[in-house]
Amino acid sequence: MSDQNTTTLQPSSEGGGATAASGQRGVRQLMGGSGVRNLGLIIALGLLIAVGAATGGSQFLSVDNMLTILRLASIIGVICIGVTFVITAGGIDLSVGSVMGLASVVASLAAVQVAATNSSWLLMVAVALAVGALAGLINGVIIAYGNVVAFIATLAMLVAARGLAELISGRSTQIVTNRDFTSVLRSNFLGVPLLVWIFLIVAAAGWFLLNRTTFGRRTVAIGGNLEATRLAGIKVKRHIVWLYVLSGVTVGIAAIMMMGRTTAGTSTHGTLYELDAIAAVVVGGTLLVGGRGTIVGTVLGVLLFSTLTNVFVQNNLDTSVQNVTKGVIIVVAVLLQQRFAVRGTRRKGAI
């Protein structure tokens, strides 16, 4: 860096200190960083797969079944990427599930227009993204500029969006008849369903955005200490609006994927997805109070839950048993996280 504005007090001595520090950095990242937590999730996932293999045998381990698990994970997974950003910044988005329902309803109605006017099915895609982004914009503005607690603002959106979706659709399911649309979304690329590819791309983009860009740095900083970030000159309110718009856009993408998978748009799409998303993100290691977020953890958290569902289905177990198990996993994961957090950087200086 050679910035003319910078004033240095004294000529600095850059000795071996810098290289020693960078050597320690690597060690620290391995020992105390998110690595340990991700390792824990990978072990948990491995155990679950072992259970699946033991009870379901080769059928469980088949490529087909693995792809089923991934396909199951893909839609909620995309939503979880957006939610990870919001939670990392210390916010919450409870509206993701019902906004997804709304986006699917509006987009599938647009599909009728597509058929009538012979325009491209990409119009549907654009409509779904726009609905998601607009809902996120409204959430963000109410939270940032109206100073309404995120929990309440997005709770209101949860209720209102679901209601609006029911009003627009008349509570009936809109079948998506556009062949181009469904065939594209149900296609495979290199033997892997397009839905899974979309999830992977969104996750990779999310990782990059969170870890390598100024947008990500602002997000983490706001979650870590909003007031300090504001006083450092960062436009906090504007950034918070963008975060909810981002969450809304991922919801729009998920709505498109859902319409592709089910060939329908309905106001009941995405019911209770907000809870599944928050559970996966938190189990993944993102702190609910903000200041620390991990996309890799979120992806692992999503895979953990979808593998669990798959194992239960393979063994013909009741969904109620599955829900109880999910609840236990959430609590255990958070308890373990707190242990790690105490041993890591969160230890309060006692001296």
Binding site: T8, L9, Q24, R212, I351
Partner: protein, 509 residues
């Protein structure tokens, strides 16, 4: 006149601490601390930040269990395995971050945890009567038991906390830097209340780093340095200020404040004209030249911090203007102020300044990471390099910029904030309480750094609740009271007494 007269000699000690030690994950926080407290005395415990005062308090209040040594209560060895143990013996602790519940009223707070109830039903009237008696014992009949504690000042909350200790029949009250959150008048009242307590035979362990208070309130004192006792139970009168500093820091004190350099004549860099903020201050006008340090002196509530925050755009001025180099700043915009070259080191470093769990380098570049970045992509290598250069120049210890900011001492956290603005190339620095929570040794270092920055042509505004610090550091001093400017004076022509005189006169008008 001092109540701190003769030490009651022949009394049986209430508390004896012998050779106490405690380690955390291999770090020795305490390694041989001795203390003896007799009934009715105010025993001051002194030490720099990190000396082990907090660990000692926590060991005495049952939060931490010591690894070695012993604690005796009335001559008997005791094990304090929980805060409840300590309370049952009669040791109450008043922490700096007061453990009162804002949403409950005074009486409910006093009896929190040992409510008077019959079959689970609270006896509200009894509680209020008892609370009134306890408050009267502290000389505070003016506090109504039904008042919601959230509406009280920090001083009022302390009184509630002390009444709670009395309600538990405490015989020893540990006070962790109680004056840190009070202004001068409130401190005088605190001392009056402490004398009421000791008059009833209650012992007080008083933790502070304000040396001038020790003379006023203390009977005996003990000093801790690096987890060891360097002095135990000495009469306060027998130790001079300079000896005390030496016991605390292990070195001689020279002149703490660096010499002033003459300020070059020139055009003002920062001009504040008729600035006002409704409900806080009004009609503030001054200008600062490059290389000049202007101090704002005044009591808590005089509007000092608010003025800095308004100049910085963190609050939106309701009157007047702020100009840098002759061009007016957009009111209420932090980013406009920063662009114009203004930087703020806020009063509360931890809650307003730092991301405690993030590495030092990210804290140092919090205002500039976007400038290092190219098209939104972070340049962490550039950030690390700049942070290492600046923190090395500021002699940050430890020098590792990858450590979380939480692990730094107060003085070093202050240096990280200075580094942030140095990296930015700030020309006007607003320093709100730059040495709060900074220990004696590091204070002199911070003063020298501030002077060096001024010598480089940075215009500096300093706010401090220690009037001595404002006068020692600044070239000119602006005296404030209740949001009004009382006087602007050359720092050489003014001392602590004349500032207080001005403020008192201002009040009587």
């Amino acid at each position: 006149m001092s109540m701190a007269s003769d030490v009651p000699e022949r009394l049986q000690p209430l508390l004896e601490v012998r050779n106490l030690s405690k380690s955390f994950a291999g770090v020795r926080a305490l390694q041989g601390v001795n203390l003896e407290v007799v009934p009715g005395e105010v025993h001051c415990v002194l030490g720099q930040n990190g000396a082990g005062k907090s660990t000692l308090i926590k060991a005495l209040s049952g939060v931490h269990q010591p690894d070695g040594g012993e604690i005796r209560w009335l001559g008997e060895p005791v094990q304090l395995t929980s805060p409840t143990d300590a309370l049952e013996l009669g040791i109450a602790t008043m922490y700096q971050e007061l453990d009162v519940v804002d949403g409950l009223n005074v009486a409910e707070n006093i009896f929190l945890g040992h409510e008077d109830a019959r079959a689970g039903v609270l006896r509200v009237r009894d509680a209020k009567n008892k609370a009134r008696k306890l408050l009267a014992r502290l000389g505070h009949e003016d506090l109504s038991p039904g008042t919601e504690v959230g509406t009280l000042s920090a001083a009022g909350k302390q009184i509630v906390s002390m009444a709670r200790a009395l309600s538990r029949n405490a015989r020893l009250i540990i006070m962790d830097e109680p004056s840190a959150i009070l202004d001068t008048g409130e401190v005088a009242n605190l001392f009056r209340v402490i004398r009421q307590l000791t008059g009833h035979g209650i012992a007080v362990v008083y933790i502070s780093h304000r040396l001038e208070e020790i003379d006023q309130i203390g009977n005996r004192m003990s000093v801790i340095k690096d987890g060891r006792s360097t002095a135990s139970s000495l009469p306060v009168k027998s130790v001079s200020r300079s000896e005390l500093v030496k016991l605390m820091t292990g070195r001689e004190t020279s002149n703490v404040f660096p010499l002033r350099a003459p300020v070059a004549e020139g055009k003002p860099l920062l001009e504040v004209d008729g600035l006002g903020l409704a409900g806080s201050f009004r009609d503030i006008s001054f200008s600062v030249r490059p290389g000049e340090i202007l101090g704002l002196a005044g009591l808590v509530g005089s509007g000092r911090s608010e003025i800095l925050e308004t100049i910085y755009g963190a609050r939106k001025a309701t009157a007047g203007s702020v100009s840098v180099d002759g061009s007016r700043l957009q009111p209420g915009s932090v980013s406009a102020a920063i662009r114009a070259g203004i930087g703020l080191s806020p009063e509360e470093r931890k809650s307003q300044g730092l991301l405690l769990d993030e590495p030092i380098y990210k804290n140092a570049t919090l205002s500039t990471f976007a400038r290092f970045a190219r098209r939104g992509l972070l340049n962490e290598r550039g950030e690390r390099k700049a942070a290492q250069e600046q923190t090395a120049a500021l002699q940050l210890t430890p020098a590792d910029t990858e450590r979380p900011a939480r692990t730094l001492s107060g003085g070093n956290q202050q240096k990280v904030l200075l580094a942030r603005w140095l990296i930015h190339g700030t020309r006007i620095l607003l320093l709100d309480e730059p040495t709060r929570g900074v220990d004696v040794g590091a204070k002199a270092e911070i003063y020298a750094l501030i002077r060096q920055l001024a010598a480089r042509g940075v215009a500096i505004l300093v706010v401090s609740s220690e009037i001595e610090e404002v006068i020692g550091l600044a070239d000119r001093v602006l005296v404030l009271d209740a949001g009004r400017m009382l006087a602007v004076s050359d720092a050489k022509d003014i001392d602590e007494h004349s500032v207080l005189d001005l403020v008192l006169k201002g009040n009587s008008q």
